[in-house]
Symmetry: C2
Subunit: 295 residues, 2 copies
């Protein structure tokens, strides 16, 4: 019997979004669009052994508190699940790391504890935990899909339809620091949401990578979210005739192809991740040997 499992969850850069609060967390969320990354988070779950705070996980060797993980442990009745994660992505810089930890914990617990839930259930559990923690609105559903996700409706898989941009560009990004998602989402989001709705309507008319960057840049300016360092970087990239935009929400600039390296930056580079969150094959592969209660 397997008592551990590892899931990979892609990072997610949000380009633009609108906020849609709701008393029901499964219906709350955001609309918008972004980029899932081949850089992501490996989340390993071991059955038993965790006796600390329900939000605690080990991230790149250090203990950190991720409130959304506490919600997932609770929803799947696995408060003793040990969660250990490794990632090259920074926390709090707009890469959806907290969403990835929540979603990876849900997939890992489901396998290690044989909870026999379907993927939509697991995504819903992680989405609701992230919404209730106030750390994100749309990362989890995007990270469950992969590609270049367009979130047409807010909410979990029972509420929110998704679409995608059919392309797989190279991605470059540079992180200067953190922006507090909680602080932005708990403030007045009226202007932000109006700008996000405009960007979504325009992207649906022309769902291409270059249009995503252009509309995201317009959104960042209209929502007044641009940091000085990101604004400088975007200016440098555009002087060279290319384009870049800001990750929502982090002090992070990203673009496609060689947008940032051509402008003299030394960016991290990765690909678009074609798939959503997945169990590592070793765990899934071992599952077939159980089962088979006869008809």
């Amino acid at each position: 019997m397997t008592d551990e499992a590892t899931a990979f969850v892609p990072g997610h850069l949000t380009g633009f979004f609108s906020a849609h609060p709701d008393a029901d967390p499964s219906a709350a969320g955001s609309r918008g669009a972004g980029v899932t990354l081949s850089h992501g988070v490996d989340v390993r779950v071991e059955r038993g052994g965790h006796g600390g705070h329900p939000a605690l996980v080990t991230l790149n060797g250090d203990p950190v508190a991720i409130d959304a993980v506490a919600g997932v442990r609770d929803a799947l009745d696995a408060t003793d699940a040990a969660v250990t994660a490794e990632t090259p992505l920074p926390l709090g810089a707009g890469f959806g790391v907290s969403g990835a930890l929540a979603l990876g914990a849900a997939y890992g617990i489901n396998a290690a504890y044989e909870r026999r839930r379907g993927e939509n259930d697991l995504v819903s559990i992680a989405h609701c935990a992230e919404v209730e923690a106030g750390t994100g609105l749309g990362d989890v559903v995007a990270q469950a899909r992969g590609g270049l996700p367009i979130r047409l409706d807010p909410g979990d898989p029972d509420h929110g339809r998704l679409d995608g941009i059919p392309a797989a560009p190279r991605v470059e990004y540079v992180t200067f620091g953190s922006v507090s998602t909680e602080a932005v989402l708990s403030g007045d989001t009226t202007r932000l949401t109006a700008a996000g709705e405009r960007a979504l309507a325009d992207l649906r008319g022309e769902p291409t990578p270059s249009r995503l960057v252009e509309l995201s840049r317009r959104f960042a300016r209209e929502a007044d979210l641009l940091t000085d360092r990101v604004a400088d970087a975007i200016g440098s990239v555009r002087e060279g005739g290319d384009d870049a935009t800001m990750a929502m929400l982090g002090d992070t600039v990203f673009g496609f192809g060689t947008a940032l390296s051509d402008a003299g930056y030394d960016p991290e580079a990765c690909g678009v991740h074609p798939a959503g969150a997945t169990l590592r094959a070793r765990d899934g592969g071992s599952r077939h040997t159980r089962a088979g209660d006869d008809e």
Copy 2:
């Protein structure tokens, strides 16, 4: 400017299904569940040069007529698109090769002809073309999703919700020959559909790989679709304590792990494909350099 593009579309083994015809092909389709495969179809589209029958494609070097591809060429106004495909999978044996050709042609034409459609649009076009050709009901939407897809509703992405089994088992399969999808779908599907609905309800209660195989095997027997050779193979596998079932619709047996090799067969083996149809990165990657009409 890119005038060619290549898409990869995973193969799809349907385990069980129910048929839901509708005068509107976007609402028509099937419910059911199956397995997408890392063995799939590479579909290359070149702009211009095709002057033959609108259904003709080159498959593993040979000209074949795939009616669904004619529908895709027509819907995307690209009747001169040359479509060349390579696959290790047999045609007509239950692997969704015709659906893969339709979906890959849609993705490839969209990129090579700069049609700027979103993924849902492309999936809908391929789904409708496949339904109208009578060669499949649910392969296209499953192949656009990847994983172990559960089709909760019939129809294209605007109509049909999907779920998935969170696992990634190794897959083994042996093909003995063809079964005509058109002949089965054009006959009385009442009994088949009742059996498929029962299997779906039961799988939703326990969405695991082993339950998928078990319920698919029950479906094949209840729907009276088992071929002699598949029935023999399933018998051999079950004598050894493992399980296997039939691909819908083909004279093909499949199982997870080492189910078929342990029973003495010499199966093909592959993995579950974690992603749906995707453009090969070269094409997607080149797209960012276009565009950027300024605000």
